[in-house]
Amino acid sequence: MTVPEIRALFPILDTPVYGKPLVYLDNAATAQRPQAVVDCWKELVEGANANIHRAVHHLAAQATDAYEGARNRVQSFINAAAREEIVFTSGATASINLVAFSYGQAFVNQGDEVVVSACEHHSNIVPWQMLCERKGATLRVLEPNADGRLDPETLSALLNEHTKIVAITHISNVLGLVNPVKELVAVAHKAGVPVLVDGAQGIVHEKVDVQDLDCDFYAFSGHKVYAATGTGVLYGKRKWLEAMPPYMGGGEMIETVRFSGTTYARLPMKFEAGTQNFNAAPTLVPALDFADAVRENPAVKAEQQAILDVVYKKLTEDQRIILYGTGKENKIPLFSFAVKGAHHEDLALILDKMGVAVRSGQMCAEPLMDHLGVTGLLRASFAPYNTVEEAQYFLKSLDKAIGMLV
């Protein structure tokens, strides 16, 4: 597949905005969906809409097959050891909340410590803060090194006999730097501490092998990796998932229910209370097929590298601009930056009228903004369907916007 052929799979990219071609560079917030994902959802709604797992009738069997088939696809995508280790959720946030609650319930007590990094999305901070408040535990913060990556040595120094879990991001949604997750996990394991990896961005840009990383939990959302919104995954090692109590009660998460006491279903159902998002979860199959197809595609790799080169060069060489998250060898095509003398919101507003969709603000990472000493940034994040021409148009538009403001 060439990049133009890939673009043709995404009809929304042809939508004009204000009479100009759309240049969609807010992919880190949500990716666009290929037609195959739209078709999958439509086919299920139109042809196989029935609640899963319960009924014996034909439609229910079809819906259940599609849903459980998606579980197999996720398992193979991240190379999990068993399909029971794949729990469907509504997104990365829900996945992390599940662990913070259930793991916290079983293993975190008063006086214990939980480690998160300063580069986390709010979704990988607040659930842990809530856990610490509930249990009287302490939240410890892992500071990044000067260029914004997490350092195994710094982590090692932070761990002690009270540390019960480490929660870190694979790739920061602000800095766009790939963290050395495997090394971080190794350091934590050496101290006997399990690790949750927030893979919301990592799953999109890296080939994830949870057995190779050896992480204990890996959380991600479907909508950032081309699937329908409201889909999400929690990978958890079986030994932890077995030892954790359920997060929510009700639906198919039970074995037997008596007023004298309830026993719970086996994995992964134990963590899937209530009616599941059975029309949407199967869209993970065409979505992950697409993600696999583009990851190793030479044309896409070349285009992404060219985008990284041209944008990185401009944003680091232009004296009016400060790029946060430098070091090209670990960088994905995601750029957060400030323009001296221009407010990020003004820039985003003007770029929007030029057809360029970028993100402005704190990007759900206020502590990181404080760490960087800024009130907000402008972010452009690229996907495999973006082109070098779009990158150049974005840079030209940015120049024009800066000219208007400064």
Partner: protein
Amino acid sequence: MSLEEKKQQVIEDFSLYEEWLDKYEYLIELGKGLDAFPEEKKTEDRLIKGCQSRVWLDAEERDGKLYFTADSDAIITKGIISLLISVYSGRTREEIAGDDFGFVAQIGLKENLSPTRANGLVSMIETIKKLAENGR
């Protein structure tokens, strides 16, 4: 110039620009031309809540009329507040409190802002009205 005449003038000025990019350019010029706002006045109680960028608004009463000063760290927002206070500065409390601020809709400002900015605009209008009704 009466309040009605001033509003009409703003509507006409705005209609000179067809493209929204040009309208922004006009707002940016307005923002840049706004009188300096003293740093010591940038206090929490003068900050308008509900804006993503920071906006400060102050009012002084002289001879029965309100005079507004303002600032923002975002220039388009500054242009918008500049536009608003150019219309409402030098008016009586009754005039301001009794106005429906409908001209903002007539120039299509709210519809062409991002949702967060549109909320900010609503907050600016509410703050101007509140200052007219209650004073600080």
